[in-house]
């Protein structure tokens, strides 16, 4: 019985491997199985081949060169140099550019008539037209030096599978076998898990990527992410989740869609991926990926010089994975993207999360402005978080203040936090700063308007780490009981008026404890020594020169 089974299996294998052109849509004879076929001509080979007087000679070609000037594929990241289609590709295009009648063969002095009045290949996915800019490039030399220059291509010297070069060049026939359609679309190998693509493309990090292994499938809501695919999961669709080898909407890098974010949101909209990024991006305060198209480029400088934001500024879809990390180390979700380090130097792959943020929010000439008018105004967040500053929230390094009683365990004075501990989507399962109802993309509410009535909700962001009771009720220190309570609760002054949450440059006497006044609320003290100044006098003691809420501190001492 087992023997019979193996015999059957063997026979089935033979059958699959031996499919004849006769049974494919390339059988254009009157008996062909496809929708496009001749009216009465029964010969099959004749539409492409002739035994005598062929042109070009090999492979005994029976059709004329279309003589078109094709628009070629272009990309900022391509190392290859595609030329006008030649070799096998120009043969394919003698039908597939849609310029020459299917029945126009050299060996016949008349047009072979097609049924339904068809002459040239009808418009559709098989008709590439003469604009090849949205198709995978062909007719380029693929050699060892190209593989080395690209860095993410197989050395063609080791190509020993179904993908074969035409001479040294990639032609249509690298992926397609016009005589055999067992994999569909006349492909030479299966696209299941993008097996075909992987013969040449070896993307860095892909083997560890979630996109390679995810078994997520369409849950039936929203858009079907794979309208043309029979595969059911992200892993099975592989490259074609985002890329489309022909007729790609995004053309460059054969992305499915021109608006970059749409390639991601096909799945990250609550329909496939566990995290609904689309809903975060629809919130009022967001990294507005919808506002820019075709500005982001993978080759752009690490320090962003043209203002924009796209998903791929922060994520590398070939590398992204589920690896957890602790601040400041970047998690798997943002692994493999470029950044700017704490010294302001460009780096090709980030180690720390803040290094992404520094691309646009540090030394970029187009960085956004601040949200509060400050005594010491600084919008370069790299300078604000510098570990040499007298005070800063501990993003790059542990904070300067060794005594912070309000910290909620497990946080302590040595802790380091992420930018995304404060700046993140509110009420979201995703960790990143995609979009929030709280400006500026804050994870929780953070009131900055003067005369805000104190509540847990009003300063929910601060109270995530700083215990509210310790801040405004603690009887053990005069500071909490008098200074904080009086200002925040009694006088309804937001935290943000005295504290600059990122960090302050300057001296340990005047700029400790993140003190950097909001000048829309606080101004210089009046009188002989009129000035705006905080002076640190040691543990929980200090004095202020300022004028605020109708009160003049000239100075006011806190002991």
């Amino acid at each position: 019985m087992r023997r019979i089974f193996f015999l059957l299996l063997f026979l089935q294998t033979i059958t699959a491997a031996a499919q004849s052109i006769v049974d494919t849509p390339h059988n254009l004879s009157a008996n062909g199985p496809g929708s496009i076929h001749a009216g009465s001509e029964t010969e099959i080979c004749i539409f492409c081949h002739t035994p005598h007087n062929s042109s070009p000679c090999a492979p005994l070609w029976n059709r004329n060169n279309p003589g078109q000037n094709y628009i070629l594929y272009q990309s900022s990241t391509i190392e290859a140099a595609p030329g006008q289609p030649d070799g096998a590709s120009i043969l394919c295009l003698s039908c597939h550019d849609g310029t020459i009648a299917l029945g126009a063969v050299v060996s016949r002095d008349h047009l072979i008539e097609f049924s339904g009045g068809i002459t040239v290949l009808p418009t559709g996915h098989a008709n590439l037209g003469s604009d090849l800019s949205d198709d995978h490039p062909v007719s380029f030399i693929y050699n060892t030096s190209l593989a080395a220059a690209d860095g993410e291509l197989t050395d063609p010297a080791t190509l020993n599978g179904p993908v074969q070069l035409d001479g040294q060049k990639v032609q249509c026939t690298a992926c397609h076998n016009p005589h055999n359609n067992i994999y569909g679309n006349f492909l030479v190998a299966s696209t299941h898990y993008s097996d075909l693509c992987m013969f040449c493309h070896q993307k860095n990090g892909w083997n560890g990527s979630l996109h390679r292994v995810s078994s997520a499938s369409w849950n039936g809501s929203g858009n079907d992410p794979w309208p043309k695919s029979t595969y059911q999961t992200v892993a099975e669709n592989g490259c074609e989740n985002c890329h489309q080898p022909h007729g790609a909407g995004g053309a460059e890098r054969i992305m499915r869609h021109l608006p970059e974010e749409n390639n991601c949101l096909d799945c990250h909209a609550g329909n496939v991926a566990a995290k609904n990024i689309q809903s975060d991006l629809n919130k009022s305060y967001r990294h507005d990926v919808f506002a820019y198209t075709h500005i982001h480029d993978p080759e752009e400088n690490a320090v962003s010089d043209i203002r924009h934001v796209e998903c791929t500024d922060c994520h590398n879809p070939h590398v992204a994975n589920g690896t957890d990390a602790s601040a400041p180390v970047a998690s798997g979700a943002i692994e493999g993207v470029k950044g700017v380090n704490s010294q302001g130097s460009a780096i090709s792959a980030i180690q720390y999360e803040f290094e992404i943020c520094y691309r646009c929010h540090a030394d970029s000439p187009e960085k956004p402005g601040g949200h509060t008018s400050r005594q010491f105004y600084q919008t370069n967040v790299r300078l604000e978080f510098n570990a040499g500053n007298p005070s800063f929230h501990p993003v790059e390094a542990s904070g300067k203040n060794g005594d912070v009683p309000s910290l909620i365990s497990p946080l302590n004075e040595a802790s380091i936090i992420y930018c995304t501990d404060c700046h993140a989507s509110n009420n979201s399962s995703a960790n990143g700063p995609h979009g929030s109802v709280y400006s500026p993309i804050l994870k929780f509410r953070y009131e900055t308007a003067d005369y805000t009535s104190e509540s847990y909700q009003a300063y929910e962001l601060c109270y995530q780490c700083h215990d509210r009771n310790t801040i405004v009720n603690n009887q053990s220190t005069n500071f909490a009981n008098v200074v904080h309570r009086k200002h925040i609760v009694d006088l309804q002054t937001p935290c943000n008026v005295c504290h600059d949450p990122h960090g302050v440059q300057g001296s340990s006497t005047n700029q400790s404890h993140l003190i950097n006044f909001d000048t829309s609320v606080v101004s210089k003290s009046t009188g002989r020594q009129g000035k705006l100044e905080f002076i640190d006098s040691g543990s929980f003691t200090g004095q202020c020169y300022l004028y605020c809420h109708g009160r003049n501190h000239n100075p006011k001492r806190y002991i």
């Binding site: 031996a18 004849s20 052109i21 006769v22 004879s29 008996n31 029964t42 010969e43 099959i44 080979c45 004749i46 081949h49 035994p51 005598h52 007087n53 062929s54 042109s55 070009p56 000679c57 090999a58 492979p59 005994l60 035409d166 001479g167 005589h179 055999n180």
Partner: protein
């Protein structure tokens, strides 16, 4: 009555077979008996003689026509596994008219003929745009190529295997596809009908 029907059926069958196989050179493209350059009025003489034949070409069949001495450009393709050489054996005889270098009326003792083949049948000396010939086609070529049937086991549709019916000395030649004597009556003197590309697909496993 039954006997009559049987006989009638056999006759019909025989008639049908004779329609397919009973064609011959008379009246075919190779019947030059009425051409004005052929003063003999004979058919066979343009190629054959019963005596004193030219045996320069190996296995030449009582050859009576001047033989080409041209050097041919052969077919070349990156995807071809076969090894082609200069046309040999019967192919060389075919090309003695069809390469256009020898006059068709250079036969027997005649030389200095002036009628040269023209148009489609004139293959010329550049065979680069013609199906390759004069190469050994055997099981090992078939397995190496992957797109060819094994000639030693595949039925030719002509009664035996490809090797038996269509190869000459184990080689693919002009006569693999063409029957110079028009035995079958198909266009272009083909050995078998090419409807549905049946002739091509006899060897090509596409």
């Amino acid at each position: 009555m039954i006997k009559f029907q049987f006989t009638f059926a056999v006759c019909l069958l025989a008639l049908g077979t004779s329609v397919a196989l009973g064609q011959n050179i008379q009246g075919s493209a190779h019947d030059f008996s009425n051409d004005n350059w052929n003063t003999t009025g004979q058919i066979c003489i343009v190629c054959h003689t019963p005596h004193n034949a030219d045996a320069t070409v190996t296995n030449a069949p009582l050859w009576n026509h001047a033989t080409t001495t041209a050097t041919f450009t052969t077919y070349n393709s990156a995807t071809m596994q076969a090894t082609t050489g200069q046309p040999d054996a019967s192919a060389k005889l075919c090309l003695s008219c069809h390469d256009g270098t020898i006059a068709v009326d250079n036969y027997g003792s005649q030389s200095g003929g002036s009628h040269f083949i023209s148009g489609g049948p004139r293959i010329g000396t550049d065979l680069g745009n013609d199906h390759p010939i004069s190469f050994t086609y055997n099981s090992s070529l078939a397995s190496q190529d992957g797109g060819l049937h094994d000639p030693s086991t595949t039925n030719s549709g002509l009664g035996g295997t490809i090797a038996e019916d269509m190869l000459i000395g184990g080689k693919m030649q002009c006569a693999s596809c063409h029957d110079v004597h028009n035995g079958s009556g198909f266009a272009y003197l083909l050995r078998k009908s090419n409807a549905g590309s049946a002739l091509c697909l006899t060897c090509h496993d596409k």
